[in-house]
Amino acid sequence: MENLSYLWIVPFAPLIAAIITGLLGYKLLREPLSGIVAVIGVAIAAVASVSGFIHVMQTGGHYDLKLFTWMPLGNYEISVSILWDPLSALMSCVVTVISTFIFIFATGYMRGDESYPRFFTYLSMFVFMMLMLTLSDNLVQLFFGWEGVGLMSYLLIGYFHFKKSAANAAFESFIVNRVGDWSFLIGILLAFVTFGTLDYLDIFAKIPEAEGFVITLIALLLFGGAVGKSAQIPLHIWLPNAMEGPTPVSALIHAATMVAAGVYMVARLMPLFASSSVALDVVLYIGTASAFVAATMGLVQNDIKRIIAYSTMSQLGYMFAAEGLGLFGDGMFHLASHATFKALLFLAAGSVLIGIHHILDVWKMGQLRKYMPITAATFLVGALALAGIPPFAGFFSKDPIIEAAFHINWVVWALLWAGAGLTAFYIFRLYFLAFENGDRLDPHVKSHVHESPPNMTVPLIVLATGAVVLGFFREFFLNFLRPSLDPRVMSEDFVPEKTKILMEEGLSRAHHVHVPEDAVHFLIESLTSPLGILALLTALGGIFFAYIVYQKKVISYEWLGETFKPLYKLFYNRWYFDNIYYAIFVYGYYKFSVFLWKLGDRFIIDGIVDGSAKVSLAAGGALRLTQSGRIAAYVLQMSIGILVFLSIFLIVK
């Protein structure tokens, strides 16, 4: 353990960077030094994470470093700590490595912004919070990070706070997340009352002592937080609007890391979730529903970032579905691979936006490949990975989930399978509209379009490389995660035997599923088994359909829209979630508050108070005791009171 104590630097390097840029950014560092400080901070964290990753890869153990006691709670002490095991090591590598590339990209993307230092302060602070969340060994620190990333997300969505839409989106994201956090906090309280501790390892050890329905309840309450943070139905509405933030923010926070925190949390508390079949089912159904619904919403959007945002929500659904199926390793692997190719897609979109001066409507783009070849090529890699075409990463991380679902629950399978086809369609719709297709660019814009500078394209190329090769490490990652996620390999002091027995019940649903873990075997099997061919054909079909509609225009999209009008309207209006919420919570609640204020405080309470004041004033006047009335009335009462008591006192004496 002693040789891992350097890991405190992982979260604190970005924090130090944030403090430096926050205090000195405007006065001293400005541009580009603030950005460089931020990149250095996160790069240090990345190097330390990777070295810790290698260490834990060799030993497979877990290390619990307590940094200091935050607050005592009876016999239990909440501490600030680092729990370093394969799961947290992987997550912190994903966070820091992807952040590093996004930070580098952002130094280019944010060039010339008047609040450049503020941007990097927020971004570094976000990474700090995210790592506190990732590395925590207890629920309170997790909650600290959880709310902290929420705050930074809020601040970054509202980065262009002078815009009404940005400020409103930020507001919405904070409030919706808080609904989830309410559930999460109640879950923490229930866990503490049940177990008397909030440290993961102690909770894992004490699971067998608690009653089954309490475990289920805790898991579901905590999952309520994940639903908010990871934008799952019914708390998903904030994510598309969150695209108001600068694009690197969308890439980092609203695609790669923060929104995946819910998935990570469920994996982190895997012994808890696995001990309750009901909880796993809920995770499965919410995830599946979100995966499918989000894919349908993504079909008809016209805003380049929103399309990708819906795909994020959808892919997060796949991760939750994997966890619900008992395949926690697959869920986490999809998280890592999704983080790579989704960050890539967003950054490529960001590169496009820089090139065409922040026009978001895909119908005003076209033929960008000519002007931005690197961006187009890397975007294509990302799109292929998202669509699940071999040999890109998404194929090796997403298709095993769909295939496993077939053996466990065919309804789930059908939705996930259909969602995959839709995904392939809408991402290639975006690709063809933006990079190929006709010439719809504004002539003025066209004269300025240019490929982005190297500090933006290099991260794109690196991430694209990741999206190509990462899939082949599937077996390595699954094996790497086993000490954290597989009861058969977990050490006794991580999760004791009694708990493992309970977990078996939840995990048994996936026991008869045998998806090959080695990437090459999986690829061969997919190309030979009917199920695999079906999945592959669906993805290709989606791409082909997008090709003939938006590139070749064999089928007109207007005709499609007319023919399937009810569906189109449903999808375009996002299944009316936003309208309903707005009517109830924003409009309704506000009106109700105003009404309540006028009725309750103004009319009833103050009516009584002022009324009685008037009565006593009148009484005072009638009695003509003094001229001032009100105060005198009370002086009189007080005197009478004292008199009464003094007389009792005297009589008794």
Partner: protein
């Protein structure tokens, strides 16, 4: 209950009460220009004393420390008795801090400067007295003495409807005090009946062993006095009125110090004196606490006046204190006390922010504001941190208290904790609405207003200096609450000794 006393080697507490009074007396005879420096120096000295005591206080065991007692009217058993336990001490410290900040903030007051500072100095003495006095006669004297300067502060230095607000404030609280007095006198009489002893000392009244029905009666009498002061729903309407009309420093004191007296009263008197009645009234107090949290959160959302929003948010936060107090367990009690401290910091900061905005814009109405953030970055940052501390973001002070209070409530009654947790959502709602409508959304704001911001000055030195300590302390409590919990834990256990057998 057995109490231990550790006499003070030097009468620090008496000095802290007397110093502001002497300063106020001297100011009468000096010219106006001495008012500010003398007030700031005196309040700084008191603050240093209180901070030193915070560190000198031995929290390893429960005892009334820095204890002083002098006979006053022995025939009636009245003596001058002051001392602190951790609850008194933290409240004393918070009072000293709030006054120091108010004085620094008030350097650019123009109207009747001398009288303004005299009123505040007298108020400071009275407020400190309330928290450290252990003789009921003195407690009551301080409790009432505080009303007069506060009445004047609102009534003289307030805004347009100040007379209505000041009168409402005065009558409401005076009305409550009357019942408080009635209760205390009643107990005094009962004590004589029962033991033949005449004493107004807290420690004697704490061991009366009242029969249940009398406990109920006395509990209700005292509770009415305290509930108005907290204020608890439905006795809260004086507070928004008073805040809206009060000058900024007056609002700071009102929110940070005066509101704490009600909850202090519940913790200090109601629980140890009437344990059975306290248990009996848990459902009532919980209900009122939850109504305060949820109902006033809705009130806050409905307002257009920024000080009224903050005032309602205060009521909402005090609901957590009520819940934590009547959870009758040590988590709840620690949570209640830390929420009291934290609310002192956050509400003071938010009222300073409101005052700051008014100085620049000459309006408290949301419709006249908006889009400032870009032009005043330092202020925007401070305001944001205060707002976040207020909505209970972990890492800042608000979360610690809310978490503990909710945990305590949860242990006593799950459903009230679940309901109170709604504050997490609605609290964020009204606080962010306030922030957004003042600082953000520049594109919606009239260009004339924006022009005003463009030429506005970010924080001045005095504003910065009075804001900064609050911000630092929000972080100190939020990042390392262990120190504070250790400090108050023995006190909480002692206060609850009749409930948890400690």
């Amino acid at each position: 209950m057995e109490f231990q006393f550790e006499p003070a080697s030097f009468p620090w507490l008496t000095v802290s009460i007397v110093l502001p009074l002497i300063a106020a007396g001297i100011l009468f005879f000096l010219s106006e220009r001495f008012a500010k420096p003398i007030s700031i120096v005196i309040s700084a000295i008191v603050f240093v004393i209180s901070t030193w005591m915070l560190f000198a206080y031995d929290y390893s065991h429960y005892a009334i420390q820095f204890y002083e007692k002098y006979n006053w009217i022995p025939q009636f058993g009245v003596s001058y008795e002051v001392g602190v336990d951790a609850l008194s001490l933290t409240m004393f410290w918070l009072t000293a801090l709030s006054f120091l900040i108010s004085f620094i903030w008030s350097v650019n007051i123009k109207k009747r400067v001398k009288e303004y500072f005299i009123a505040f100095l007298v108020l400071e003495a009275a407020c400190i007295g309330v928290f450290v006095a252990w003789d009921m006669v003195w407690f009551y004297i301080f409790w009432e003495a505080m009303l007069i300067p506060m009445f004047l502060i609102i009534g003289v230095w307030g805004y347009a409807e100040r007379i209505y607000a000041a009168t409402k404030f005065f009558i409401y609280t005076f009305f409550g005090s009357l019942f408080l007095l009635l209760g205390v006198v009643g107990m005094y009489v009962y004590q004589y009946f029962h033991t033949g002893k005449l004493s107004t000392s807290y420690f004697d009244l704490a061991n009366l062993g009242l029969p249940f029905n009398l406990e109920i009666i006395f509990f209700l009498l005292l509770a009415l006095g305290f509930a108005i002061k907290v204020p608890m729903w439905p006795f809260h309407t004086w507070l928004p009125a008073a805040h809206v009309q009060a000058p900024t420093a007056g609002s700071v004191i009102l929110a940070a110090v005066l509101l704490k007296m009600g909850t202090y009263g519940f913790v200090r008197f109601s629980l140890p004196w009437f344990p059975e009645a306290s248990k009996y009234f848990i459902p009532v107090m919980f209900t009122l606490g939850v109504i305060a949290i949820i109902y006033t959160a809705a009130m806050a959302l409905a307002q257009q006046h920024i000080k009224r929003i903050i005032a309602y948010s205060s009521v909402s936060h005090m609901g957590f204190v009520t819940l934590g107090t009547f959870a009758l367990n040590v988590e709840g009690m620690n949570g209640a006390i830390i929420t009291m401290i934290s609310h002192g910091l956050t509400s003071a900061a938010l009222f300073l922010a409101a005052g700051w905005i008014y100085e620049r814009s000459h309006s408290y109405m949301l419709k006249d504001l908006g889009g400032m953030a870009k032009y005043v970055p330092v202020f925007a940052t401070f305001f944001m941190i205060s707002a976040m501390a207020s909505v209970g973001l972990p890492g800042l002070s608000g979360f610690v208290g809310e978490f503990l209070a909710l945990l305590g409530t949860f242990k006593t009654n799950v459903w009230f904790a679940v309901l109170a947790g709604i504050a997490l959502v609605v609290g964020a709602g009204y606080t962010l609405r306030l922030y957004h409508k003042t600082m953000f959304m520049e594109e919606l704001v009239d260009s004339k207003i924006i022009h005003k911001w463009r030429n506005t000055r970010d924080m001045t030195a005095s504003e910065f200096l009075s804001f900064l300590p609050l911000i630092i302390l929000m972080f100190v409590i939020g990042v390392y609450p262990k120190w504070w919990v250790d400090l108050i834990n023995t006190t909480s256990l002692s206060i609850l000794s009749k409930f948890i057998g400690g």
